[in-house]
Amino acid sequence: MTKIHLTVDGGAVSEDVEPRMLLVQFLREKLGKTGTLIGCDTSNCGACTVHLDGRAVKSCNVLAVQADGGEVTTIEGLAATYDGGELHPVQAAFHECHALQCGFCTPGMIMRSVDLLNENPDPTEDEIREGLEGNLCRCTGYHNIVRAVQTAAAAGKGEEQ
């Protein structure tokens, strides 16, 4: 067991973990952050995407001990949405554009989309599509996911002006 200390969704956490524990297992099993999901075992699907120190990573592909001292944001901490609080613009755009069906890829898809827009606030459709290559969705055909990212980008521009 190794003691790790990190910040998850704005809160300090400290836990003993086995070195083999994956970050996604740590989030789900130790912290009960079940909003982050596991869709594969080869790091292809991206369902487990979270932000580690501000960048999107696949939390199945990071050991919890590697995240020691880091700052993790999950879908649950993206916006203070509990008790009816306002959605993050990307969450709002996913809702508005019907960019989700079963919802299983959605947390990862949203976390990656936020990261993509942080890198490139005004992406072309091709840049969005390429930028989401590490996230699989089986329901939407991606059409409305692309629309949602475009919508969120436009909303972001609106805010800047």
């Binding site: 083999r20 994956l22 790091s43 199945c60 592909n61 590490g134």
Partner: protein
């Protein structure tokens, strides 16, 4: 999905890491970004008893200008390499190739040195490093450093010149300032490993190819430098027909793999087409 249990240490210096390697021998496995290692551990295709995390060694990160070469710390992430202005200016081939590695999340964690040391023949960093004549700085037990040329670095499938008790610290990339570059990657779906890819960088003078560097991904157990083709390209006009002719032998003598994506003959055919396209794009932008 759950790796077998292992012990773990996260040294903060290269010397500490080397000491841990010496202590644990073949039971130990180094983890850099972990983007190739962790899938293997999750699937229990490998079960090291001890994992040494290089992620806390700050000295292994970053890109710096060292006169005639750029020096890339082995633990520099793909994302950093892909967006580094020095690399874009002096080793554009590396920037372009690294942008095609896996996906954004993997590039945010995966490291340039880790991928080179992993030496997956379908990986996208080996061929550009080879084409540009990179040198690999390896830390030895006892504090020494040795430098290995790219031509000697890739030994076999997943095997490099790095010894079991050594580690890769830096990659020195000779500057190719002003050279055009292109990495032509052939895949069926975007996220796939390269079926075949070609790294080409060209110094053009007027409409002529003054010098060219070409290397192939996944056309054998290691990245392959196409030196004969480079010679044939020298002095040719940068036109499709001239290049087609010069690169026609690029796949001769190669032993590419056969899998669901195609047999060896198909890959050799692809190598010819992709080399032509890569060189043409590198020469003409």
């Amino acid at each position: 999905m759950i790796p077998a249990a292992f012990d773990y240490a996260a040294p903060t210096t290269v010397d500490e890491a080397l000491a841990l390697l010496a202590e644990h021998g073949e039971d130990a496995k180094l983890i850099a970004g972990g983007q190739s290692l962790l899938p293997v551990l999750r699937l229990r295709l490998n079960a090291p008893e001890f994992v040494i995390d290089l992620g806390r060694i700050d000295a292994l990160r970053g890109v710096r200008d060292d006169g005639g070469a750029l020096v890339v710390g082995a633990m520099t992430t793909h994302a950093t390499v892909a967006t580094d202005p020095l690399i874009a200016q002096h080793a554009a081939l590396v920037s372009k190739a690294v942008r095609t590695v896996a996906d954004a999340q993997v590039r945010n964690r995966g490291t340039f040195g880790g991928a080179l040391a992993h030496a997956d023949p379908a990986g996208d960093v080996g061929a550009p490093a080879l084409a540009l004549g990179a040198q690999f700085v390896i830390a030895e037990q006892g504090g020494g450093r040795r430098t290995v040329d790219a031509g000697d670095f890739f030994v076999d499938l997943f095997e490099t010149a790095i010894g079991e008790d050594e580690l890769l610290t830096e990659i020195r990339i000779p500057k190719h300032t002003g050279w055009g570059a292109h990495y032509e990657k052939f895949v069926r779906i975007a996220q796939q490993w390269s079926i075949v890819a070609v790294a080409a960088t060209v110094r053009a003078e007027g409409g002529t190819i003054a010098e060219a560097r070409v290397a192939l991904t996944n056309m054998g157990a290691t990245p392959l430098r196409a030196t004969a083709v480079e010679e044939l390209l020298r002095g040719r006009p940068a036109t499709e027909d001239a290049i087609r002719d010069a690169v026609s032998s690029v796949a001769d003598g190669t032993s590419p793999p056969a899998d669901l994506n195609g047999d060896a003959d198909y890959r050799r055919h692809l190598a010819r087409v992709l080399t032509r396209r890569a060189v043409l794009t590198a020469a003409t932008g």
